[in-house]
């Protein structure tokens, strides 16, 4: 089993790929700044269908999908040799990722409006990064 973070947040990518923070050790990153939040969720869902499990819940704690463009999903992914033996799909993860996709779609369609501008992007990247860092530290405990 290996660890993977799928993200569209460059701050997360930097922390994992370059900065060497200990809580992020031995974690792979799948970073693409052009992915939307929904793209990140869909990519995670596809991996869950192939046997990956969610480490963190895919939604943030307060900041809603129409209030930030960033999304990072933290997964445990079976290695190739484990997959060959056959892995089961984790139903908890399937339900959570599907609920999160439905909630994201809802809030992007049926709320007031997108509510951030470019000046806020560094702060939003930082908050997404800190949530993930809290999760990575929790996971290592």
């Amino acid at each position: 089993m290996k660890l993977l973070i799928i993200t569209n947040n460059s701050r997360v990518n930097e922390a994992i790929s370059y900065n060497g923070e200990s809580c992020f050790r031995n974690i792979d990153v799948d970073f693409d700044p052009d992915m939307s939040q929904m793209d990140v969720l869909v990519r995670a869902r596809d991996m869950i269908h192939l046997g990956a499990k969610l480490v963190m819940h895919p939604m943030m704690g307060r900041i809603k999908p129409h209030e930030t463009p960033y999304k990072s999903v933290f997964l445990e992914v079976p290695e190739e040799r484990e997959r060959e033996k056959g892995t089961e799909c984790d139903l908890n993860s399937v339900i959570m990722i599907e609920d999160s996709m439905a909630e994201t779609a809802k809030l992007l369609q049926n709320t007031f409006a997108l509510k951030y501008d470019d000046s806020m992007l560094p702060d939003l990247q930082y908050l997404d990064f800190l949530l993930l860092k809290a999760g990575a530290e929790e996971y290592r405990r």
Partner: protein, 428 residues
């Protein structure tokens, strides 16, 4: 555990050169408070202002609202924040200045905080419009990073609230409330025929702007823990939360936790209120499932027949709420949830990001996405432009004529999740 709350009613606040309370009017020296806040070298500037109910005043962005409280005897108020050798909170004599709050404003990180109007339609949405506010406008030094910035503002608010409450020690007219909290066995034997009820108190523990502090320490380092109402009254819980002003549990909402208040009211007549389990809402699934197991175990150890859970946050915390409810119900413990809804502007969307069939008794505190038009106010304390960034506002919120179009969760306390709010649900 015995606590005497001495409640001093404050009718007005005025700035003066001396500190005193006379005929219910709080006289306070703003210079002294400024010096107190500037003791922290991370603060660049601070000033104070007063907002009264009925005035054409808007406070924005609000970070925290704190009721002034101080201890005459029996330990320290807000224990663990300023000293290491803390005692258990909830004993002795505590002074509370009622009808007012210390309210912190100034920029934080990214999202700014909520709105409080002292008149107009906002009054129908939040209890904060009906109390006096001693507003602290605080700015950090340029070098201070976001984590320290949050801490600077949080600690300054608490220090001011404590200092202001100490002015109340000389007041002889107050209302007294005695709170006695007995050991579990005694409580069990006292009302054997009444249904035993436990309160599961969810609190955010997820990172900057999403934290709660228990005895001054970050709740991320906590596992579900049995606590007492008396401790909560003495400020054992402090809010480190920002974002989603409508539902965030401010320090004021902890100090005046409406669920605890109501359970104490009917304790001994309708129910036997056995205790509180403080449940930190973590980010990883394995912590969520461990916290579920521990919360349910503690509830069972308290002998509960029924449980009330109050929610905090939105998104992944809804999963904690639902899995704890499910496990309690599966253990034969009847469970009621208090939560708000995010059902979209038109109220037609699925209101919760997670749900289980066992969650069959839910009290709602309203749809946070519903919009409200607030009239222009003559004066703003804080920075009006920040409305564009508050949760519930956006870049088109400020109308040409000065009115504000906001979602309800932009109003501080607009749908408080302990039910200390004016919104609710009725069957029609």
């Amino acid at each position: 555990m015995n606590l005497e709350l001495r409640k001093v009613q404050i009718k007005d606040i005025v700035f003066d050169t001396v500190d005193k309370i006379e005929d219910g009017v709080l006289h306070v020296d703003p210079k002294r408070l400024e010096e107190l806040v500037l003791e922290d070298s991370r603060v660049k500037a601070v000033s104070f202002d007063i907002a009264r109910p009925g005035e054409s005043v808007r406070i924005v962005p609000v970070k925290d609202v704190i009721e002034p409280r101080a201890k005459l005897e029996g330990g320290e108020i807000f224990p663990g924040l300023f000293r290491e050798d803390m005692q258990e909170a909830g004993n002795g004599i505590t002074y509370c200045l009622k009808g007012m709050a210390v309210t912190s404003t100034g920029p934080i990180v990214g999202f700014q905080e909520g709105v409080i109007d002292m008149s107009g339609p906002c009054v129908d949405y939040t209890i904060y419009s009906s109390i006096l506010h001693l507003c602290m406008i605080i700015e950090k030094q340029d070098y201070v990073d976001p984590h320290d910035h949050e801490e600077v503002v949080r600690l300054a608010g608490i220090k001011v609230a404590k200092t202001v409450a100490e002015i109340g020690f000389d007041v002889t007219e107050y209302e007294t409330e005695n709170m006695e909290w007995k050991p579990i066995g005694e409580k069990y034997a006292e009302f054997p025929d009444l249904p035993k009820v436990v309160y599961v108190y969810n609190c955010m523990a997820q990172g900057l702007l999403h934290d709660t502090y228990f005895y001054g320490r970050d709740a991320k380092a906590l596992v579900p823990t049995m606590i007492t109402p008396n401790e909560v009254m003495d400020g054992a819980l402090i809010s480190g939360n920002c974002v989603s002003p409508g539902s965030k549990t401010t320090t004021y909402m902890h100090q005046n936790n409406a669920v605890i208040r109501e359970l104490l009211k009917i304790h001994g007549t309708e129910i036997n209120f056995m205790g509180i389990v403080l449940n930190p809402l973590m980010t990883t699934l394995k912590e969520k499932f461990r916290d579920r197991m521990m919360t349910v175990r503690e509830v069972k150890m308290l002998g509960a027949d029924g449980v009330l859970i109050s929610q905090e946050g939105f998104g992944n915390p809804t999963t904690d709420l639902m899995i704890v409810c499910q496990e309690l119900e599966n253990n034969g413990i009847k469970t009621v949830i208090i939560t708000n809804e995010d059902a979209g502007v038109d109220g037609m969307s699925e209101p919760l990001p997670d749900s289980v069939q066992e969650a069959n008794a839910i009290v709602t505190t309203g749809n946070s996405n519903a919009t409200v038009m607030l009239p222009a106010m003559d004066k703003t304390i804080g920075i009006l432009k920040e409305v564009e960034r508050v949760c519930g506002g956006n870049v088109t919120s400020i109308q040409e004529d000065g009115r504000l179009l906001l979602e309800i969760h932009g109003i501080m306390g607009g749908h408080n999740l302990q039910g200390n709010t004016k919104l609710g649900a009725i069957t029609i």
